[in-house]
Symmetry: C2
Subunit: 345 residues, 2 copies
């Protein structure tokens, strides 16, 4: 089965290869009747341009890279899906590149993607969006890149984020509104800047309500279900325990919930539990977990939009390349009014 090339199309349509190229790429300056004739031949021959030839001559790859720490997480799945769908709409392809900053030589893999794949752009997921050494690699090679939920917004990087601080504050206000005073907070990993912003939002809400944070109830997890399980054991052991727990993500919140159930506590009557993400784990439990809906797929799609926008590519830094998407508080069954006597006062 001989491959159909641009020359075959040109010959059959009685025009030059250049004209076929113009039609294929939707350029101007082609007479309508010629354009139609070419399109007809393209369809007849089922001609598909060779992406490599195009890339080689134009030095554009139509390839975007998604650089991500842990490609197996539910977060990664949502982000990837959002990016994939949008890439397809834009006739780009997506290559997922796992980056393990803990493994020596990671730079080489990244450089390799950039150099041999000639990536047209990169989406950099948290937490590695905050690694200056990684960002520098893209900057040096002049590869347009968008950071997802970064701690800072460098002028020559795009950025897509949500208001982690504000969302955490809303959640905390909601818990306080339910009468809770002894609210515990489960932090995420230290390198996760969004987790830090969430904690700040929590503390801001507590301060605004004039409630002192009990530091014994502020503990660090690693975003995993397992860490939620273990921290739950520690937090719920003694008689002196919080009436509500706010975890930095849903997987940990689910771990807390399971621990409470194991200890025969009633949720939400004995303990309210709130998460963050609106991950599948927040729905795969009983009661379902109150959480913050984070627009993960939308953020990834927006990142693609920024990267393929000629205005951004031609003109970095670009004012419109820093986006903030909306979140939402999702109230479910895991949170309820504080029923603790000493707090009714």
């Amino acid at each position: 089965m001989k491959t159909v090339t641009i020359k075959d199309v040109a010959a059959r349509a009685g025009v030059s290869a250049k004209t076929v190229s113009r039609v294929i790429n939707g350029e101007d300056h082609v007479r309508p009747e010629i354009r139609e004739a070419v399109q007809r031949v393209v369809a007849e021959l089922d001609y598909r341009p060779n992406a490599f030839a195009r890339s080689l001559s134009s030095s554009r790859s139509y390839l975007l890279g998604l650089f991500i720490d842990d490609p197996v997480s539910g977060y990664a799945a949502d982000v990837q899906h959002g990016a994939l769908i949008r890439c397809r709409e834009r006739s780009y392809h997506l290559v997922v590149e796992p980056v393990d900053l803990g493994r020596p030589g990671w730079q080489d893999h990244v450089r390799d993607s950039i150099a041999s794949l000639r990536l047209d752009g990169a989406i950099i997921a948290p937490p590695i969006c905050d690694a200056p050494e990684l960002i520098a690699l893209f900057r040096q090679s002049a590869v347009p890149h968008v950071l997802m939920a970064p701690s800072t917004e460098p002028a020559d990087s795009g950025a897509v984020r949500m208001d982690d601080h504000g969302a955490a504050r809303e959640m905390t206000d909601y818990l306080i509104g339910l009468g809770h005073r002894h609210i515990g907070f489960v932090q995420g990993p230290e390198n996760h800047s969004a987790s830090i912003r969430r904690e700040e939002g929590f503390r801001a809400a507590m301060a605004a309500a004039g409630i002192a944070v009990d530091e014994r109830f502020v503990v660090r997890g690693d975003f995993s279900f397992r860490s939620g399980l273990e921290l739950g054991e520690a937090l719920l052991r003694g008689p002196d325990r919080p009436s509500a727990l706010f975890a930095c993500n849903d997987d940990m919140a689910l771990g807390l919930l399971i621990t409470a159930i194991k200890r025969d506590m009633q949720v939400p009557d004995d303990l309210s539990i709130a998460g963050f993400d609106d991950a599948a784990s927040s729905r795969a439990a009983w009661p379902q977990i109150t959480t913050i809906r984070q627009p993960k797929a939308e953020m990834a799609a927006a990142a693609v939009d920024i990267l393929v926008d000629p205005a951004f590519r031609k003109n970095i830094p670009h004012p419109d390349a820093h986006l903030m998407l909306a979140h939402a508080l999702v109230v479910r069954g895991s949170t309820g009014p504080c029923r603790r006597d000493d707090e009714q006062a």
Copy 2:
């Protein structure tokens, strides 16, 4: 920043481009001292071959496609990760292509990947591995492809599977061994051939033990947590209900478990629940769910190995391209001895 090309390396090393090419690709017939000299220059210049130029001239893309129905599922994440890691080891790249057989025009997307990306091979995940029209596309274009867990094993397709029938039979034997006689079975979607093989294994074990299957307790789900939830309501409503439930995958088993908990049943004392997959959902509950470990990532990695193996590429059909990987029964807290009086007899 001027890009370093093969000519630059050749000039600086005082050899021809062809010799540099030989060194880069690890071919024979290069004097050791020349090889070393070239390697030194490659390192000095940090030369990275342009993947597009290589692909264009060699008509190999070093790109593998993963074609998958639902790229957001936990199954997809595991498969993708297994494939990604192995691709990296083999210096291939992976492109994920969602395929929605329900949407008209899906063929065009697939043809496009094949034709414009010049895919070197394809991994086809279940359930679309059983769609003849899809397989035909790869066959026609002579793209080597490996099916994951297909219902049939065409001679000119590779295949990687596990023994779904045997594994389901083991699980059922285990439940029967615990004294259960009234065992319900939750089927997967009709188009999922592995789910059918699991049901057959279930029925074979029941028949071998001389136990009649109560067809009221055999119900169809769609692999989703939600369907497990709903089917649980139906199965556990009346007084006449099964003492054990075996679901075709873990997400549905988790749904069953949550329903049992909602209905104040004790698991496993009132009801044993078993799943299939060893997905995260089987561990994110209390009690944890007894299941079958399915080697998803290993299956995907094996598929990559088959695809990049020159012996397979040169010589399709190939006898060694049909693999069966080992599974394991994982006993956890959700299953226990049958405590129903009428069954003790």
